[in-house]
Amino acid sequence: MSRTTTDLLYLVTIVTFILALRFLSSPKRARQGNLLGAAGMGLAIAVTLAQDGLGNYVWIGIAMAIGAVIGVVGARSVKMTAMPQMVALFNGVGGGAVALIALAEFHNLTPLPGELAVDESVPILLSALIGSISFSGSLIAFAKLQELLSGRPIVYSGQQFVNGAVLLAGLAVGALIVAGTEGDVLVMALILAALVFGVLFVLPIGGADMPVVISLLNAFTGLAASAAGFLLHNNVLIVAGALVGASGTLLTLLMGRAMNRSIGNVLFGAFGSVQAGAGPAALEDGRSVRSTTPEDLAIMLNFARKVVFVPGYGLAVAQAQHDVRALAEQLEAKGVSVLYGIHPVAGRMPGHMNVLLAEANVPYEQLKEMDEINPELPQTDVVVVLGANDVVNPAARSDPGSPIYGMPIIDVDRAASVVVVKRSLSPGFAGIDNPLFYDPKTSMLFADAKKALEDVGAALKAL
């Protein structure tokens, strides 16, 4: 197939990718869009394989078979609660592929010393650097989300200095490559430095900040793909990479805004490590907590007209999304109106709660974003907070001394009564004390979310 034909067909792929993203603006057409994007991808792969002068088909076939098996098995078996780490993993392998492409291209382009032009060396540098950071960073994010590593920020003194030094070393090697020094070992050194940097860079970021990190790494892989497009003079890589880069960047900014924190603070602030000690001390100032039972909660819900559930990551951990839907259906059968209030950073990746509740067949019309649910709360009889903490913490509104002051929250304390389902009084991921628990209209149901919802459902049936 000639280069012109190839490029024309790549253009078709580009169009399918853009349409795939456009169709994502409504849940009804989103699935078609994804299938269209997949078809476009299939076309691009077929076209590439049919290109003139391509060889090594056996090896390519074997590699594709291996990759496809890994991809299908991983994607089919992953639980919806584990979606963030799966996305992190697929994101990482994409970044890794880009770094390897950079290495191979460098090796190919430099049989003769001093021949590498700047418009080749700079893309090599960028794809090796960004691809590798994305690869190792994503693996660490995966390990944290999968709880192979502690979700708490891992910090040590001089950390920023070490990170900076590693990055500088990588960039210095990069500068050597651009300046015209050649040798595969240089690109390997660059990749190694970038891999180390990726690890160091994600380690100090706490589990609750993972939505930001995953979004950012997503943008990185996109940009790395674009850089590889410049290297291979391939438009479809440039455009697809730019689309992903734009998406990841937008989501990163959105997540930062939803937490009222700058991206710099998220990435370098090691949030959650500093205040960890402050929580328990603050608990001993004589405030009292009212605890309740599943039976009492069932009675409250039974006599309510309007109930709002506010889910958080605790719901995902307890795998309780099906139980909350079952309880909601019981309530609706009794004529209670049920809504769900979803904070943008609830869960471990953007939109994670929506996916979990969709999995449990919750009609998406009942899922309300923060800005939609807040005006409804003053007319709500009972709010049930399920494994959420910081996103309903009124200190964000009232206490300028709180680390989360200024973060937009779901104003559950404006409802007539609040029930917090939580395993213990321990502060949330960020280790911040929550005055909501001591509010006179709040009662605490100390239990695992799944168990609690089952018990409430049973009690409701018995009424």
Partner: protein, 100 residues
Amino acid sequence: MNETLVFELTILALAIFLGIEVIAKVPTMLHTPLMSGTNAIHGIVLVGAILVAGRAEADRLTTVVGFCAVALGTANVVGGFVVTDRMLEMFKQRGPRRPE
């Protein structure tokens, strides 16, 4: 600066603006599928990996590195699209089963 580079930079700039426009319209509810969908889209690096791995003049290093890149890229593409499809399927089922 050669012509190709300028042309490619133009494409890049336009694609970034287009991406921002299109993605700003995606509702919060679909942000996880958006992320996994874009994840699948950057699997397009597989095309680059195939080009590198399939070079006729490939020596051992290129073959090995290319092989790994193709495997990683394929996992990215296949896993990305399958996972996104699984998620979007759940959203699609939701008809007006119950009027609110």
